[in-house]
Symmetry: C2
Subunit: 260 residues, 2 copies
């Protein structure tokens, strides 16, 4: 069997998230039925992780296995010819059988976009921003500083599949300029994220930015480990998975490198 | 009666254009029914000009008249509370009765966005770009140079309401950077545009960029005045009306200036 690594972009608006579901339209479901048509056999696609309903991606990574004689298919073209327009293959590369989209990931990056103009949200941007209105960036950045580094992020985890540990290392939480002066972009990088962690942290930062929570209270919220005491989850449409990062040896391309 | 000037933004994807139509969903139709609900009377909205089905706007201008005692309504808030999310009022200002959204306009600006990556179009951008693939910018810019200035643009006019003259002055047709390295933005400024003129010119520029038409042939196409000899109309979704421009005396704000 040959292993193919896919990089995928999707507009999450009309998807019930990444993960396969019996009745709802999901990204994994669309990619798997597309592969089944091309390969003539049910094919499991392994993503780097789930994204929630309404959350977007520009660099989601997934892998699948196919018979060796199909490895050379022009996968990007073949998949994009069959997939619906709200999901696209950005890159398709044969990889070593050692590579695993989820387990080989060393870290992951997300971006969350806020819209600050109080009177209106530009219709062209409404599916990609949280129109939270005016906020105090310095309060938000002070709160972000509290969360940077290694912590038990149980406060910012929603109920879901149990995980071994809720300790994660947030290596970056910084603000950048948006596509327009009315927007700000918040970049999150960590070795991994708990369920809805980015949206829960974002909800907390915006509460600080609105003066409803003091940045110093974020420290006690974090230590309490109590989700119910923290501000509400930010809406999904502001969030985009930029993508997972892999070490060289995991993601090496069989065609270009001398992988084992 | 008091006159109110509206600046409107819309995502044109789900509209059959600006202009009121008996059965189809249009921007003018949405704004007029919204005003009818607020004012309790049928109210005509005059736009600066039509936009085609699928074409967007960030600064469309329109005006309407209302009884003097309603002039002070918080129009931006009132309209945005009632309008569907794909059309928003960006600004609402009382103006002199001399102001007319269409007849007072001195010039108009449009932008057309191209997507050049051949393998895929980012799903998040698919409603706002023409995925025309790789093109030769220098050939396109040479063709643009031929079209700049005052010309009879009959070649680039689609059949529609007859106009007195097909002579227009194109004061700018320039390329700028896009939201991502895969995009380019083409800015059009003129004293006025004929029906589908921007999309027809764009179709012609892309034909040059693809090597299917030589920039020098654009001059003969222009002089021929024959629409059927020119390349096909560019698709609507790449186009955004930036807005009309008004002279000071036409657009002056009754509240802030000493207008007549």
């Amino acid at each position: 069997m040959a292993r193919i690594k896919l990089t995928l972009a999707y507009d999450g608006t009309d998807f019930s998230g990444w993960q396969l579901q019996p009745r709802d339209r999901t990204v994994q479901g669309e990619v798997e039925s597309c592969l089944a048509r091309i390969l003539g056999a049910k094919t499991r696609v392994h993503g780097s992780g789930r994204t929630d309903a309404g959350v977007h991606a520009v660099g989601q990574v997934a892998h699948f296995d196919c018979p060796d004689e199909r490895a050379d298919l022009p996968w990007l073209r073949a998949l994009n010819a069959t997939l619906p327009p709200d999901v696209r293959v950005v890159d398709a590369t044969p990889v070593s059988g050692e590579f695993h989209a989820r387990y080989s990931a060393r870290s992951k990056t997300y971006e969350y976009v806020l819209w600050h103009e109080p009177g209106f949200c530009l219709p062209q941007r409404r599916r990609f921003v949280w129109a939270c209105g005016p906020v105090d960036f310095s309060a938000m950045e002070a709160a972000a500083g509290v969360l940077l580094g290694e912590h038990d992020f149980a406060t910012f985890q929603n109920v879901g599949t149990p995980v071994k540990s809720t300790v994660r290392t947030l290596t970056r939480l910084s603000r950048g300029p948006g596509a327009s002066p009315q927007e700000s972009v918040w970049r999150f990088e960590a070795d991994g994220f708990l369920k809805q962690m980015v949206r829960n942290v974002m909800g907390c930062l915006v509460a600080c930015g609105r003066g409803k929570l003091a940045p110093r209270d974020v420290r006690s919220l974090l230590s309490a480990g109590d989700r119910s005491a923290a501000p509400a989850t930010a809406p999904p449409q502001g969030l985009t998975l930029i993508g997972p990062e892999y070490g060289w040896s995991d993601s090496c391309d069989n065609q270009d490198n001398n992988c084992p």
